[in-house]
Symmetry: C2
Subunit: 333 residues, 2 copies
């Protein structure tokens, strides 16, 4: 998967947490070394279900940029851009809207699940229902070949590929099929409360920007093994969030194995695990936190990164749109 054009991005609806780091950012850091990575801050997509709350979207544009840069996503290697700054994406969405039926949109399992979760029913905003089409436009405007997605996002790629097929059949070969880059083992992080997913809305997340004290408090409250009441009790590893995190962040695998054995046998208090996790997470998060604070001293410089990247992204998208208009025979000039 080297030398490919890759599109990835975040919805600017909140600061990013460890779940994002494990699920997306880590992969991005790898991808940017040998691929052409476009990183999109999806403010228009965020507005599809936050139309009444644009301040939230605005504020978080900077926050998600800070989180990614602080983690090492490098504006010298990766094109950072803001979705709304590339109107070509809207234009391409409009053309794609004609190639997809309402029935097909309503069948999209990802959208269906999200609509149910939000309790929308028929009152779903039209923009929200269409967002898979807008997403296809985001990807295809850059001719991205590879898109890192969560398992739950696979139907989006399927729908995008249907658009590729239909567009090419009607107007001629312009687009190539997109390949999803599915998450590897260990790319989904449980919540601090033991819930299946770390998530802002479930309030079970460790944020990349959390300070040391907040980190400590959160880890100390983490779900371990409810059957492990006294230190002497034998403890369970399976389903124990602290061990799940240690597996990911503790590089001393021998030490960790030894701890697991002692924990399972009985005689280890949860505090020992938690202190060990705090140490490891702090080692990971301290430099990110410091880099973030540094960047925060000059938010204008970060916005300039986004501005420059957006201009660059726009040039690429404009080229694709010129090609699209030619293929569609609506290039009148």
């Amino acid at each position: 998967m080297d030398g490919k054009i890759v599109l990835t991005g975040d919805r600017p609806t909140g600061r990013l947490h460890l779940g994002h780091f494990v699920g997306s950012i880590k992969k991005r850091l790898e991808l940017q070394e040998t691929n052409a990575l476009f990183y999109m801050i999806a403010d228009m997509q965020a507005l599809t279900d936050n139309a009444e709350n644009p301040e939230k979207v605005r504020e978080n544009v900077l926050e998600v940029a800070l989180d990614n840069i602080a983690c090492g996503l490098d504006p010298q290697k990766t094109v950072f851009f803001i979705q709304s700054g590339v109107p070509e994406l809207s234009e391409l969405t409009m053309y794609f809207l004609n190639l997809v039926t309402l029935a097909r949109l309503e069948r999209n399992p990802t959208v269906k699940a999200e609509m149910k979760q939000k309790g929308y029913g028929g009152n779903v905003p039209a923009g929200f229902l269409m967002y898979p089409i807008s997403q296809a436009a985001d990807i295809l405007a850059f001719k991205a070949e590879l898109v890192p997605v969560g398992d739950d996002q696979l139907p989006m790629i399927e729908q995008a590929n249907e658009i590729v097929e239909k567009f090419n059949r009607i107007y001629g070969d312009v687009f190539k099929k997109i390949s999803p880059l599915v998450p590897e083992e260990g790319a989904r992080l449980s919540g601090l409360d033991g819930g299946a997913k770390m998530s802002k809305s479930l309030d079970n997340a460790i944020y990349l920007a959390d300070d040391a004290e907040t980190l400590r408090k959160k880890v100390m409250s983490a779900y371990t093994d409810p059957a492990h009441i006294r230190a002497d009790d034998p403890g369970h590893i399976e389903g124990n969030v602290v061990f799940e995190y240690l597996d990911l962040f503790d590089h001393d695998k021998m030490g960790l194995d030894e701890l697991k054995k002692r924990y399972t046998a009985g005689g280890v208090g949860d505090v020992e695990l938690k202190e060990r996790l705090i140490m490891n997470l702090e080692a990971k998060l301290l430099p990110i936190r410091e880099r973030r604070a540094e960047l925060m001293e000059d938010p204008g410089a970060v916005m300039k990164i986004l501005g420059d990247g957006t201009a660059r992204a726009r040039r690429v998208a404009a080229e694709t749109l010129a090609e699209v208009r030619r293929a569609m025979k609506i290039d009148y000039a």
Copy 2:
């Protein structure tokens, strides 16, 4: 209704006919004298139900421009532009999509009727279902205050005004309510076959570009009074297409009244009416046809008019979009 910004336009799906002249173009000629008229060639809207037929759309962009200019719509007074050349319209559509629910779209009587007519059902292209939102964006991007519409288009204006209300409520006062300019008496033309509406798809139309011979043939075939078999029979005026057209195009009202009396009494053959109509229509259409032929000698010049107007329209729309982004707090630069 002087000094207002007015948006009007045609879908480039075929040449224009007398029905368009009577229903839209005549009004435009009036409006352009004392208002700021924007004339849009709605190629993107045409594609919502012609996605598989872009050549048709492309060809007719020039045709509808020729028809309008030949009738007297003046590029010095009116801004001629092509919808797809103003990507700000797509952008604004995307923002508006978040303010309208699917249920509301499905309730739009105009769209409902058109969907039924086209037999779409659930297989309606998403772009077609959304086109009222796109239309609202077309109007509001130019801050048009007045929009000439057919009776059947009133629900579109209603929906656009709901968007105005919701946008202003959430983001602050940016847009003003739109007023529909409803057609006057006599603005709807029956078809040559006596059908309620002159229309390309019903093949009952006299085109602005029809030559003299075609015009003659078509008028000679026009529906008059089926009970008026011999010249001696008394004829009916009501429902008689030739008299309907004469009422609109014959300026010798006294002579026409006298003819009507004689026709009603009996003793006038249909050919007499038809010759009279041919004379009057030819007087109307000859200069249009000649001007059209002249323009056709240099289609590049017409395309330049469209190019210049599109650039001008784009500047206006870009100003509105800057204001929209400010109001929505997504002006990051």
